[in-house]
């Protein structure tokens, strides 16, 4: 369960406060796959980051009893000057207890990402698709209750997308995801509930189809 308690979040701009959420209260039950929709700048990524504990509301609280992944996005999470392997190793050490666990996770990441020789190259030389592969493989190496995913499925080639989808379909049987995307087809396929963000309001729909309908009526 993820609980938002009177959450207010704004960004200070030159013309005043730009609200993303105003006094939002919401309980999201465990085991529900949630799609997040909204126009650019509506606060989708910020919501995901706040749930993931790397951004903070201006007031209110966000709580969860689940073991959440880090927000998987195309921008954050890597040190460009280090190789894919070094990046992965560091994160494995953060999440593992023993050296054996580190080794096992590292092997899995190498296998799943299919980066081959590029695994030993600095991440700054990677394309966005390759970064997505690495990030995705890294998160799947650990058992999270809920995966927070920001647009990462939209890059990458068909083969990789297919692989991700099937990995997620396996996952979503026992775990859940929170997915930010502009691709309504993917959202309908993966998620059963939806959130639409607009003008500081958070609209929750228990049915993803209704969320998509609402979102499309706004366009």
């Amino acid at each position: 369960m993820i609980r938002l308690e009177k959450v207010t979040k704004y960004f200070q701009t030159k013309t005043g406060r730009k609200y993303i959420m105003k006094d939002v209260c919401l309980d999201i039950p465990s085991g529900v796959n949630i799609g997040i929709l909204g126009l650019n700048g509506a606060g989708k990524s910020t919501l995901l980051k706040m749930v993931g504990g790397i951004d903070f509301p201006n007031s209110g609280k966000i709580e969860s009893d689940m073991n959440l992944s880090w927000p998987l996005s195309l921008t954050g999470g890597f040190q460009g000057s280090l190789t894919g392997k070094e990046n992965a190793k560091l994160i494995c050490r953060l999440y593992s207890k023993t050296d054996k666990d580190v080794k096992r996770a590292l092997d899995f990441i190498f296998e799943f990402s299919e980066l081959g020789d590029y695994f030993a190259m600095p991440v700054k030389t990677y394309s966005s698709g390759m970064r997505a592969r690495l990030g995705f493989a890294m998160s799947l190496a650990f058992d999270f209750d809920c995966y927070l995913i920001d647009e990462i499925l939209s890059v990458g080639d068909k083969k990789f997308k297919k692989k991700c989808m099937s990995a997620f379909n396996d996952l979503t049987v026992k775990r859940c995801i929170m997915l930010v995307s502009h691709n309504t087809k993917v959202l309908k396929k993966m998620c059963n509930a939806g959130i639409v963000l607009e003008n500081g309001e958070l609209n929750y729909f228990e049915d993803m189809d209704n969320a998509v309908k609402y979102y499309q009526s706004q366009l």
Binding site: K49, G52, G53, I54, D55, F56, N67, W70, P71, S73, G76, G77, F78, Q79, G80, S81, L82, E86, K89, L90, I91, R93, L94, Y95, K97, F142, D143, F144
Partner: protein, 259 residues
């Protein structure tokens, strides 16, 4: 996944960062270890040639290269930590994507790395000094360890302060960088306070690093006893800077993560 306590998590984080830091500092450039030794060695050699002969008489019972070494290495420890801390938050921004990594963790890891490096270099230089026939004996090893540990903690706190303020003000970073230069010449790396004319003493003695240097040498050399430096003064600075740094850090921590 099993749950871990805060301490277990922070330990795992600092440990992971420590291992990475060791690797990036010394692994990527193959001459990393070589430069950690050569940099202070070169400076010591230059100043030995420049001042060594004239100062021989003013420091009875102390070999000048050893005197330089006891100033140069602590200075480099302090200056390195300060310099590297200033860009630390920016450099580790990618890591803040993982909620268990707090901005202070890379700084803690770095202090451990620097401490380890300079401890090794210190032992190496002592052995080298002994090998070259200088008097390298430590007078009070317990006192010396304590004051060096205090300097390490002071450097960490000062580095944290620089890192926090530096994130929000580029001007501050520039000022610190400019200040490090005169500080290099006024921190007693090449001289003792006793050789400074009385009318300038009070000015130099504002500098806490100078006090650290004098105290380090008091503990190191049996033949040297500081007349002007005060342990209380160094403790005052260490406590003051660390409280200020930690207070500012705790206030601005979330902003640093989210920015």
């Amino acid at each position: 996944m099993e749950t871990r306590t805060c301490w277990q998590i922070q330990k795992a984080v600092v440990n992971a960062l420590f291992l990475r830091e060791l690797k990036t500092r010394f692994g990527s450039q193959k001459f990393g270890y070589f430069w950690a030794i050569m940099e202070p060695a070169a400076i010591i050699a230059v100043f030995w040639v420049m001042f060594g002969l004239s100062l021989r008489k003013t420091l009875p019972g102390i070999d000048y290269p050893m005197f330089l070494m006891t100033g140069m290495l602590p200075w480099q420890l302090f200056a390195n930590i300060t310099n590297r801390s200033m860009a630390a938050f920016e450099a580790n921004r990618g890591l803040f994507n993982y909620r268990q990594v707090k901005p202070i963790d890379p700084l803690i890891a770095r202090v451990f790395v620097e401490g380890l490096v300079y401890f090794t270099v210190f032992l190496l230089f002592m052995s080298l000094g002994k090998f070259l026939g200088f008097d390298a004996a430590i007078d009070d090893i317990f006192g010396l360890s304590l004051i060096l540990a205090q300097l390490l903690f002071f450097s960490f706190s000062f580095g944290l302060l620089c890192a926090v303020i530096g994130t929000f003000s580029e001007n501050y970073t520039k000022i610190i960088k400019i200040m490090l230069r005169p500080l290099f010449f006024s921190s007693g790396i090449f001289f003792t306070v006793a050789t400074v004319p009385d009318k300038y003493k009070w000015l130099l003695l504002w500098n806490p690093i100078l006090h650290f240097m004098e105290l380090i040498r008091t503990y190191y050399f049996a033949a040297f006893q500081t007349q002007d430096a005060s342990r209380i003064y160094t403790i005052f600075w260490t406590v003051g800077v660390s409280i200020l740094a930690l207070w500012l850090y705790s206030k601005l921590k979330n902003k640093i993560i989210a920015s």
